[in-house]
Symmetry: C2
Subunit: 453 residues, 2 copies
C-alpha cells in the first residue's frame, strides 16, 4: 500500500495533504537491520508476511497493518515522529545469540508482532535510536523469560531449559500469569532502551527525547505499552475501548509534586511545587487563593507567601501544560541532558521511562471483519476525538473489504482528516500542525490465516 | 431501632448472634459532645432528625440510617470498631466559633450529614479519638471554604464574606468545582485528625491506629472518603456500585516499595523491598526466581542474592498480607509510635492518612425507594461479597417499606449473616471473627422530605 501511495504522490510534495500549509512528504523509515526481510510499515500482503503459528497456545495476528505519516516542515526541520514494526522472533537460547531480528526465523520458538510509534522532541535523535533499539531490548527481555511464557504457569524458579513447575502454589496464590512476564519484559525493555539512548546521545553529543507507544501481539494477546502522550484505541462495530492512557504533567501531577516534596533541591529554589489556577503575581501576596499540593486531589485555599510567586513546577492547562516550563510529557525515553533554559535544573529526575501496559485478550473477543486497533501520535488526537476516529474507521472499512491496501488507505485518510480540509470532520476544520503517525492494525485473520485458528 | 433491638436482646449476651462462639454485646457508642441532641446511630425517625433544606442548591439526605455492630471477645478485649454519625452544621464565620456540633444549629448556613466508621488496631484508643475528633476537623475545614462552596464556582480568591468571582476564567480552565473544595476539606480533615491523634496518644501514653471510612452528604452529593480497608457500596435495584477502594499493603505495593527505594534507611537493613512469590530460603540462593520491584506491575526473574533472603517489606497474600510483618492496612489514622516488634523500625512513614474520596451525585440519580449505601468494616466484607450484600438488601427492603426501623434491622441482618448461622449466605457458613460495624444509609427522601425536593 505504501508503494501505491507513493506512486500517487511524488516524494517531494504531497498535493492532497497540502491544505493550508505545504506539507513535505518523506518516505517512511524502514526498520534497520541486517535482515533480508525488512519489517516495514507497508507489510500488507507481502508473501513473507503471512503469520506463523506459534507453538504455544494463542493465535498470531496478521501483520498487514496500515501505516501513514506526515511531517510538517513549519514545525521542525526533521521528522520527529519515527515508527517501527516487524515480526518478533523469540528463540529459546541461553546467551550470546547473534542478532536475527526480522529474519524469517527458521529456529524461532515463539513469534509475535511489534508495532511502535516514537514522537521525538528536541530533535529526532532519541526517536530514531528508539526505533532502532527498543525491539532488540524487548526480544532480549522476552528471551530471558521464554520458558515461563510457554509454561502453563510461570515457574517460581527458572532453570535453563528445564520447565519444572516449582512451587506452583505460591505462584498461583499471587495470581502470576504468563502475561505478567510479558508486561515485566516490556517494562524492563523500555528502561534498558532508555539507558542505551542516554549513552548513545552522550557519546554523540546529541540531545532529545521521545514518547513511545508499543503494541506487541503474542500468544493471542495484544499488549499496549505506553510512555508519553500517544494513544491507542480499539474500534469495533459497537465498541470504542481506550488501550492506553496519556502521561503528561497534568495526568501525573501528584507523582511529580510528590517527588519535588521529597527532593526540594530538584527545584533549585526557582520553582514552586504548588498548583494554582494561574501563575500568581505580586498583587496576590497575602490573599487566600485556590491551591493544591501533592497529597490533594481536591482543592483548598492558602494565604499567598512570597515563595508561592515562583514559576510553577507544572504550568498551563491541557495541551499547554508544561513540566518546569519545558516539557509537555512526563514519560518517555531520552532527555538525559535536558535542562530548564539558562539553568542547571534537570528534567530527567521527573520523567519515567517505564510504560503502562494494558492487555487485550484478542482470543476472547468475538472478532469481526473490521475490528481494528488505531495507534497514533498526539498530532492526530489533538484534532480528532476517539469517536471521530471510530466514525471514520466504520465509514471506510465495510465498503473496502476487498482492497488489500485498505488499512494503509484508512491510515492515510485519518491523517488527511487532520489537515483542515473543508470536508474535515474536525470542529471548524481544525488543523494539526504537529507530526502525525498512524498505525491501523486489523485484529481479524482472514482466509488461510483464520483457518489457522 | 436500636432501642427495640436492645429490648429483644439483653445487654450481657446476644443469643441470636452467638453462633459458634459467644458474642458479648456492647451498647453502641454515641457521639460525644456538649449537645442536647446527640447524633447517634439510631437516629431513625426521631422528630429532630428531619432533614433541613440547605440554602444552597442540592438536597439533603434523610439521616434515618440504620446501624448495627458486633464485637468479638475472643479477638479483642475492647471494641476496636467505633462509629459516629450526625448532622453537619457549617456556619459562615470567621474564627474562634465555639463548638456547637450536633445542635439543631439555628444559625446554620449549610447543613449536611456525616457517617463514619473507624476500625482500630493495637487497642481502641485511636478509633475512639477519631470518632470524637474527625467531624470537628471536617466542620472546621468546610467552614474555612464555605464561601467557595455556595458560589456558582469557587472563586480564585477568598475574601471574607465577599463572594466575588475573581479570575473565573482560570478556575474554569482548571475545571475546579465546589465539590473539589469538599474533597480538599476531607483530605485536610483526615490529616488534621491524624495529627491530633498523634499528640493525644503521645500525651496519654497510649498506642494504636485505625482505618477511617467517612460519608458526607452535602448539597445533593454524597462524598465517601476512605483510608483503610473498610468498604462502601451503592445498592440499587439493578446496580451495585463500589464507592470506595481498599488500601492495603497489597493494593499500595508500588507506593510502599517506591518509598523504600527512595529511603532505604527506613528498612534498617532488616527487610527486602522486593516482592517474591514466597519468602526465599537459603536453598534459593543463586537461582533465578520470580520477583517484582517498585516500578513493575508485571513480573520478571532475578538471580537470588543474600540480601533477597531478608524478610519482605510486604509479605503474605490477600487478608494475610502484612506491611513490615506487622500491619494489614496501609492508610489510616494514628500508629505514630508503632514499630516492628523488637526493633526500632517505624511503620508510620509508610502509612498515609489522606483518604481517597469518591463523589456520588445523588441529585442526578433517579432514586428509587430502596436505594441505599452500605458502609461496613472489613469484618463484613471478609465473609460477604458485594453481590451477597446486595442480595440481602434487595430481599429485605421491599417487604418492609412501612417499618420505620427497617434500615437498622437490615444492618442487624447483615451482621447476623457474618456469624456463620446455618441459613447463612456465606460459603460453607463462613464466620467473621472480627469486629463488624455496618451503616445502611437510605438515599431516598420520603413523605414530607421528598416534597421538599
Amino acid at each position: 500500500p505504501l508503494a501505491s501511495w507513493m506512486k500517487q504522490h511524488p516524494p517531494e510534495r504531497l498535493p492532497s495533504l497540502q491544505g493550508a500549509c505545504p506539507v513535505p512528504y518523506r518516505r517512511p523509515r524502514f526498520l534497520r537491520g541486517s535482515s533480508s526481510s525488512p519489517g516495514a510499515a507497508d507489510a500488507s500482503r507481502r508473501p513473507d508476511s503471512r503469520p506463523v503459528r506459534s507453538p504455544a497456545r494463542g493465535r498470531t495476528l496478521p501483520w498487514n497493518a496500515g501505516y501513514a505519516e506526515i511531517i510538517n516542515a513549519e514545525k521542525s526541520e526533521f521528522n520527529e515522529d519515527q515508527a517501527a514494526c516487524g515480526k518478533l522472533c523469540i528463540r529459546r537460547c541461553e546467551f550470546g545469540a547473534e542478532e536475527e531480528w526480522l529474519t524469517l526465523c527458521p529456529e524461532e520458538f515463539l513469534t509475535g508482532h511489534y508495532w511502535a510509534l516514537f514522537d521525538g522532541h528536541g530533535g529526532p535523535a532519541a526517536a530514531i535510536l528508539a526505533a532502532n533499539t527498543l525491539h532488540s531490548c524487548l526480544r532480549r527481555q522476552l528471551e530471558a523469560v521464554v520458558e515461563g511464557l510457554v509454561a502453563t504457569q510461570p515457574p517460581m524458579h527458572l532453570n535453563g531449559r528445564c520447565i519444572c513447575p516449582s512451587d506452583p502454589q505460591f505462584v498461583e496464590e499471587k495470581g502470576i500469569r504468563a502475561e505478567d512476564l510479558v508486561i515485566g519484559a516490556l517494562e524492563s525493555a523500555f528502561q534498558e532502551c532508555d539507558e542505551v539512548i542516554g549513552r548513545e546521545l552522550e557519546a554523540s553529543g546529541q540531545m532529545g527525547g521521545c514518547t513511545a507507544l508499543v503494541a506487541v501481539s503474542l500468544q493471542g494477546k495484544l499488549y499496549m505499552a505506553n510512555a508519553g502522550d500517544s494513544r491507542a484505541i480499539l474500534v469495533r462495530r459497537d465498541e470504542i475501548r481506550p488501550l492506553s492512557f496519556e502521561f503528561t504533567p497534568e495526568t501525573e501531577r501528584q507523582r511529580i509534586q510528590q517527588l519535588a516534596f521529597v527532593y526540594p533541591e530538584l527545584l533549585a529554589g526557582e520553582f514552586t511545587r504548588l498548583e494554582f489556577p494561574r501563575r500568581l503575581k505580586g498583587d496576590d501576596l497575602g490573599q487566600k487563593v485556590l491551591f493544591r499540593d501533592h497529597h490533594m486531589s481536591g482543592w483548598s485555599y492558602k494565604r499567598v507567601e512570597k515563595s508561592d510567586l515562583k514559576y510553577p513546577l507544572i504550568h498551563g492547562q491541557g495541551r499547554q501544560a508544561r513540566l518546569l516550563g519545558t516539557l509537555a510529557v512526563s514519560r518517555g525515553l531520552g532527555d538525559h541532558q535536558l535542562r530548564v533554559l539558562d539553568t542547571n535544573i534537570q528534567l530527567k529526575p521527573f520523567l519515567l521511562s517505564v510504560p503502562q501496559v494494558t492487555v487485550l485478550d484478542v482470543d476472547q473477543l468475538e472478532l469481526q471483519e473490521d475490528d481494528v486497533v488505531v495507534m497514533a501520535t498526539d498530532g492526530l488526537w489533538d484534532v480528532l476525538s476517539n469517536e471521530q476516529v471510530a466514525w471514520l474507521v466504520r465509514s471506510f472499512l465495510p465498503g473496502n473489504q476487498e482492497d488489500p491496501h485498505r488499512f494503509s488507505k484508512l491510515a492515510q485518510m485519518l491523517i488527511h482528516s487532520t489537515q483542515g480540509k473543508e470536508d474535515s470532520l474536525t470542529e471548524e476544520g481544525q488543523v494539526s500542525y504537529d507530526d502525525v503517525s498512524v498505525f491501523v492494525i486489523p485484529l481479524h485473520s482472514q482466509g488461510q490465516e483464520s483457518s489457522d485458528h
